[in-house]
Symmetry: none
Subunit: 224 residues, 2 copies
């Protein structure tokens, strides 16, 4: 018999369809209320509430009360990474759709992963940043290269002013099956993409749609 971290407990929390849907919905990065999550999961409000308290107790969610609204969000990037990993396996072993829908295709190109960018574009970006030695990659650990501070400062991102979370993190991409950039730097880059209106978020989806000029700008800055 094995001892050690109770992985069955965590996995079974994700293993209920209603809870899985809630967690997927929260992968968009924005915190949601209990009723929104109930709708998202397709269950009644009491049922949703019960699930949410279980997820809270399991440490997978955080709660921010604002008046009579209670906003639930993912507990952190590690939880988001786990959901991505599970999604990847589900995608790989799941029934192959004969024809992936258009939204599906957009998701593969670029999507939000908790608070940063994922998908082909994101994987390409990390590759390029490592290739240019702006970031230094060692296994799953990513560090800033010597030129990182000045490089990101030039595009308005201050890599020093973000103390709490790790600046860089590798996050496995379920569609490409390689790593993309997470951490505060990943979050800051997504912020910039949206702030500059290079891309917009698809309503009710994690897909991120680049406009043609936005795509060009993004590639000039990050893939050049």
């Amino acid at each position: 018999m094995r001892e050690g971290p109770d992985i069955a407990r965590i996995a079974s929390l994700v293993g209920d369809p209603a809870r899985a849907n809630m967690l997927s919905a929260l992968m968009g990065g924005t915190a949601l209320t209990a009723s929104e999550l109930a709708l998202e999961a397709g269950v009644s409000l009491p049922t949703a509430s019960s699930h949410l308290s279980k997820l809270m107790e399991g440490g997978l969610l955080t709660l921010a009360s604002q008046g009579r609204h209670r906003y639930y969000g993912l507990a952190g990037p590690q939880v988001a990474g786990m959901i991505e990993a599970i999604t990847g396996v589900a995608e790989a072993v799941g029934p192959k759709r004969v024809r992936p829908g258009p939204r599906d295709a957009a998701m593969r190109v670029a999507r939000v992963c908790y608070d940063h960018l994922a998908g082909e574009q994101a994987v390409a970006m990390l590759d390029r940043l490592v290739e240019k030695d702006i970031l230094l990659r060692d296994d799953n650990e990513i560090r800033l290269g010597p030129s990182a501070a000045s490089h990101f400062a030039a595009i308005g991102i201050d890599v020093d002013a973000r103390p709490r979370r790790p600046v860089c993190r590798a996050c496995l991409d379920w569609s490409v099956r390689r790593s993309h950039l997470a951490g505060t730097l990943g979050a800051a880059i997504l912020d910039k993409i949206l702030a500059e209106k290079w891309a917009r978020r698809e309503k009710d989806s994690r897909a991120v749609i680049f406009s043609p000029p936005g795509k060009a700008a993004f590639e000039r800055v990050f893939l050049a």
Copy 2:
């Protein structure tokens, strides 16, 4: 309601304690028989068999029949990565022991991961072997370098005479969160460590305790 990959299905497969124990047992990369897995999970053989067929149907395992033995193994590195991610979350949110016991500390330094060494020592060893180009690492794939055969022959390990399983494999370490060496070579190295009495196994635990001279010898051979 969400559509997309059925993550609840996959997570619920991992979400049963018996199945979770089986999957943890398979994280070493060694394929195991149904009876071994039943023992590992602490359930009867019929129960184990039922779980195994579910895991197979879910695409999480592969099966290799050899005569009347049927060896179950993880379906691939992606599945292993998912287990690792779940383990990481479980570790993070799990009950914080007020004071990690001495055995816990020992486990972090060195432990058995089915048939090879894991923990800080093992991660350091793989790093060093790659640094010296004895092993060639490419993301999660590890191959023998040109000098590998002679290097290991010098310490009594024949890297050629082990056909069945892959010689090298990266195995993610849950305590260090980086890779260590699995595969037949990893197994052979652990054998040597125990045969030379550099270390002993703690009773009823996975911890591996080095004696002071044993530690020095290990470091001389593998970390120099």
